[in-house]
Structures are given as C-alpha cells and as structure tokens.
C-alpha cells in the first residue's frame, strides 16, 4: 500500500478526460461559479482546494449534473454533458462520493453498495463488490450492518466503495477527510492513492490542502467562484500564497 501512495507520473500529453470551460453556475440568484476553467487528464489526481464557500462542491455538483451551468460547458471524454441529468452522467462513467458521504443510513452496507451499482447488472455487481471488499476489508465485516451505524471512517469507505460500484472512469471525491481522525485521514488518502495507481482518474475536493497536495499531480485553488491559481501539486505546495492561506504557515 505504501508504494502506491507515491504519485504515479501523470501522462502530460493525454487529452483532457474532463474539461470545464468558462463555467458559470448559479444557486437561484447567487452566482456561485464565476467562469471556471479546469481540466483533468486521464490517470491524474487533480485536487480543488479553497476555503468554505469557494465553490469546490458546486464545481463537483455541476460536473455530476445535480446542478447545470448557466453558461459555459462541461465536457466528458469530448462530449458536452453540461445539461445531462445526474442519473445519466453516472451511466457515462462519472462516479461521485458526495460531500457528507450521503450514505443510505437505513440500508445495509451491502445494499448501499448494490445501490452504487444501480446502473449495472447483478452479475457485474457480484464481481465488483469483491473488488470493493478487497480495497476496504472493513466493509466486508460490516456487510449486514445498517449504513447509519457505521463510524465516520467506515462511512467514507462505503461512500467511495459505493461510487466505485458503478465502474466509473472518473471518480469525484468531495471532502473525504472531513470529520475523520488523523489516522483515518492518512488511511483514506492511502487508499485514494491506491485507486489512482490502478488507473482511476480522480478529481479530489479537499479542505485539507496539505494532504491533498501530497497525493495529487496537479491542483486548482478556488476563491469565491474563481480559479485563482493552478499548477503542479509540487509548485502549489511551494507557492507563497498557498502556504499562507491553506497550509497554515506564516
């Protein structure tokens, strides 16, 4: 597992799997995303960092179709998905572990996983659930337990496992470390690195900028709906502004 946590070299020349061009998204009258440009290439971990309310979650919701941009486009594998409904976006190959995990609390762990494979056949799910258990052995132990009775760390594993059940080609992770003990944060990030090492493209939203930049290839810094900075994870870690604002250094 340790070897997998080192970032795999990103393929610099690959075409963007996911591309947001000048995206403007509104919540009613509130202009939440103000011209976001963003690219994710195949095999990368890209992280979005920024303060509360910067638009990180809104960006993910705009990609997954829970929200739609008023102007600008979201392209996935060359196809414009700006106005595709959320339940169709999943079928195209984008999986999401949403903010706050959003586990189906009254369904068991295995039922939650099967919901994740809602778009897949029973046979596919039977196979995929074993991959998820291999990644998160704890979920196998908890299979018959109600989702709401799991600990925070276990719920996060379930949220990621559930997203993987749909066999996405791009995985959107929203604050996977939120509310977890430091040791669990470490563990979750190791697993994210491992999933990426197996070829998964990941867009990671995090408040824990230090952790996120340590496993990501590239990053975007969001402020009040704008991308204010972008670059390799290494460059961002060295950046004066990032260090002051997000890494807690003075």
């Amino acid at each position: 597992m340790n070897a997998a946590t080192a970032p795999a070299p990103a393929v610099e020349t690959a075409a963007a799997v996911l591309r947001l061009s000048d995206v403007n998204t509104y919540y009613g009258a509130i202009h939440a995303l103000r011209g976001i440009d963003l690219e994710v290439h195949r095999g990368e971990i890209v992280t979005l960092i920024g303060a509360n309310g910067a638009g990180k979650t809104t960006t993910l919701r705009t990609i997954s179709g829970l929200l739609h941009p008023r102007t600008g486009t979201v392209e996935f594998e060359g196809r414009d998905i700006s106005h595709v409904a959320a339940h169709e976006v999943v079928r195209l190959g984008i999986g999401q572990a949403p903010e706050g995990r959003r586990i189906f609390s009254r369904l068991t762990v295995v039922e939650n996983l099967l919901m994740g494979g809602f778009t897949r056949s029973a046979a596919e799910n039977h196979e995929q659930v074993e991959h998820v258990y291999a990644l998160f052995p704890r979920l196998r132990e908890r299979a018959g337990q109600k989702g709401g009775t799991l600990s925070g760390g276990e719920q996060q594993m379930l949220a990621i496992g559930r997203a993987l059940m749909g066999r996405p080609r791009v995985l959107l992770l929203d604050e996977p470390s939120l509310g977890l003990a430091p040791i669990l944060v470490q563990q979750i990030f190791e697993i994210i690195g491992e999933i990426n090492a197996r070829g998964m493209t990941i867009l990671l939203v995090e408040q824990n900028a230090l952790q996120a930049l340590s496993i990501a290839h590239r990053g975007y810094v969001l402020q009040t709906g704008h991308v204010v900075l972008t670059g390799s994870a290494h460059d961002l870690r060295e950046n004066e502004m990032v260090r002051k604002a997000y890494l807690g250094e003075s």
Binding site: H87, T119, K146
Partner: protein, 348 residues
C-alpha cells in the same frame, strides 16, 4: 435488494435489528391488533371492521408512499379514491350492469376488468396530478405544494360534479352497481361471513403483499427506497428521480382506485365529497401507523376500521370519528413517529 447477493455477503448470524426481524416484529404487531379486535368485537363485527379497514388501508398506503418519497401530504389523495368510485360505477354502468351478477364466470371477468381498468386510469390520474401540480413546485417552500394539493382536491370534486344536468354526477349521492351479490354468505364456525367481505379482504391483502414484494425486491422498488432516503444521493447512483416519483404516484393512486372499486361494491353509493372524510381517516391511519411505512399504514387502516365498527356496534357510531382522532392524539403523544415509525435520525 437482490436476495442472493445479500445472503452471500451478509454474516451468517442476523442481528435482531436486521430487516427480516424488523419485518417480523411489525407483522406480529399487526397480528396482535387483529387478535385483540376479534376478541372485543366478536366474529361478525370483526369481519365488518376488516372490510372497512381494508379500504382505509389501501388509501392510507398512497398517502404514506407519497409522503415517504417527496414529504408532501397529498390532500387530494382522498379525492383520487372518490374518483375511483365514480370511474368504477361509470365503467359498469356503461357496460349495462346495475345489479348483482350471478354467473360466476362473468362476475370474475367483470370484477377483474373493473379493478384493472379503474386502477390503471387512476394511476394515470395520479401521474398527471404529480406532473402538472406538484413537480413544478418541487423546489418551492413546503407550504406551496400543500396548498396546491388542497386545490387539486377541489378540482377533482368539481370535475366529478360537472355541470349538471349536462354532464357529471352533480352534488347528489349516486348509486354504484353492486355487481357482487351481497346476500352470498359462507358459514364459518357458526358465523355467516359475507363472501364480498372475503373478496375485499383478499384483494386488499393481495395488493399489499404485492406492493411489499415490489418495493423490497425489484429494481424500481430499490430506486423508490433510495429516493425516499436521499434524493440527491439516489440521483448520483443513477436513479431517475422524476420517473421514480411518477411511478410512486401511479402506484399510490392505483391503490386508491382499487379502494374506490371495493367501496362501491360494499356500500353501493358514492358522492363527490366522499373523499374528504375517507381521506382524512386514511391520512390518520397513515400517521397512526408511522408515516412513510406501508405496513404501518395498513395497520393504521385496520385499527381505524375496528374503532369505527366497534363504536357503531355499541350504538355509538356518532362517536366513531371522535375516538379515531382521539386515538391518534394518544398515539402521537407516546410515539410521535407513529406505531411503526422510525424514531432515529434520518441522516448519518
């Protein structure tokens, strides 16, 4: 959930809080209520109460399903039931049947056709109501769809009345053809049991069991349960939310349609305002049982049937509604989520 996968992955020992055990506890409670009612009412009134309770239960399930999935108290639901009584009588009347049919084969065909057509038509009515009245208000403040539901209720009542004498049924009581002979009895252990009561009970139980299996075992059932638990999360899993909500309205309204058919057969009369009282009591049944829980709705329906019939049997029919709503108050004081309602927090 797909049973094979679940059993393959679940640990061998099921805990007491498992879904199967939970279902067993709920069914045991239903059985206890039935046994208690039988002891108090005696066999004949017990049958009457079951018949009335079946009708309330079928309506209550629609309330509870719709509330479970979009948290709307669909005040028009009682009127959907009322429309069901009229669709059924119009259907039979058009075919020229106004009295009891004694040819068994014809009777079976007629009943099957009456239930099927009425349920499908009412299901469509439910979908149209959702599509035109509630869906545009999906993200509006809660009060807006609630008031709209009351408006839909008035619209349905007035559509049925029409503009007499040109079309519609007017504000009068209209006879519903009792095509099932009401003088057919089956002698069970010294009691004359009306065959019609058995039919109504069988239809109601059959529909409830089918619904339970449908929601519990099918893919559409899974999409309904997940949408009820967390709409956005369900959408992210690939569930088509709009379609799922429409299907829920179809099923709930179709069950109200079935209740309408049985009401006509049993009582032989209906009126445009039938849905108000019946809807209020069925809603009470849903809340009593635990809103959002279909078995609870059935339980609540039977309890209300027992109370009303019990009050009538003691010559106190006028107190029936008072006792029904009094029982609701008492239950809610001690179990705010209803008899079978979940008391736990929704979200993890």
């Amino acid at each position: 959930m797909t049973a094979p996968a679940t059993s393959a992955e679940a640990p061998p020992a099921r805990s007491l809080s498992g879904p199967a055990a939970q279902l067993a506890v709920q069914l045991a409670l239903v059985a206890a209520v039935l046994a208690g009612a039988f002891a108090v009412l005696g066999p004949e009134q017990f049958i009457n109460a079951l018949t009335l309770g079946s009708i309330y239960a079928l309506i209550a399930i629609g309330y509870t399903m719709v509330y479970g999935i979009i948290e709307l108290i669909n005040f028009a639901h009682g009127d959907v039931f009322m429309v069901g009584t009229f669709v059924s009588l119009a259907l039979l009347g058009t075919l020229g049947f106004t009295a009891a049919v004694h040819d068994p084969l014809l009777l079976v065909v007629l009943l099957a056709g009456d239930f099927l057509v009425t349920m499908i038509l009412l299901g469509v009515v439910g979908v149209v109501i959702e599509r035109t009245a509630y869906r545009p208000l999906r993200t509006a403040p809660r009060l807006a769809p609630l008031i709209t539901a009351i408006g839909v209720s008035f619209i349905l009542q007035n559509l049925v009345q029409g503009v007499p004498p040109y079309f519609g049924y007017g504000p009068y009581a209209t006879n519903a053809p009792q095509i099932f002979p009401t003088d057919a009895f089956l002698r069970v252990g010294g009691t004359n049991v009306p065959v019609l009561s058995l039919l109504i009970l069988a239809v109601a139980l059959g529909l409830m069991i089918t619904l339970q299996l449908f929601v519990g075992r099918t893919r559409i059932g899974r999409s309904m349960r997940s949408t009820a638990l967390d709409r956005d999360a369900a959408a992210l899993m690939g569930v088509n939310i709009n379609r799922t909500i429409a299907i829920t309205f179809f099923i709930g309204s179709a069950l109200a349609g079935a209740a309408g058919v049985t009401y006509g057969l049993q009582y032989g009369v209906t009126r445009f305002d039938l849905g108000f009282q019946a809807g209020l009591k069925a809603f009470t049944a849903a809340v009593l049982g635990g809103i959002g829980n279909t078995i609870g709705a059935a339980l609540g329906g039977f309890i209300i049937g027992f109370i009303e019939v019990g009050a009538a049997a003691m010559g106190q029919a006028r107190w029936g509604p008072a006792i029904v709503f009094g029982a609701l108050v008492v239950v809610l004081v001690f179990r705010p989520a209803g008899l079978l309602g979940q008391q736990v927090g929704e979200r993890a």
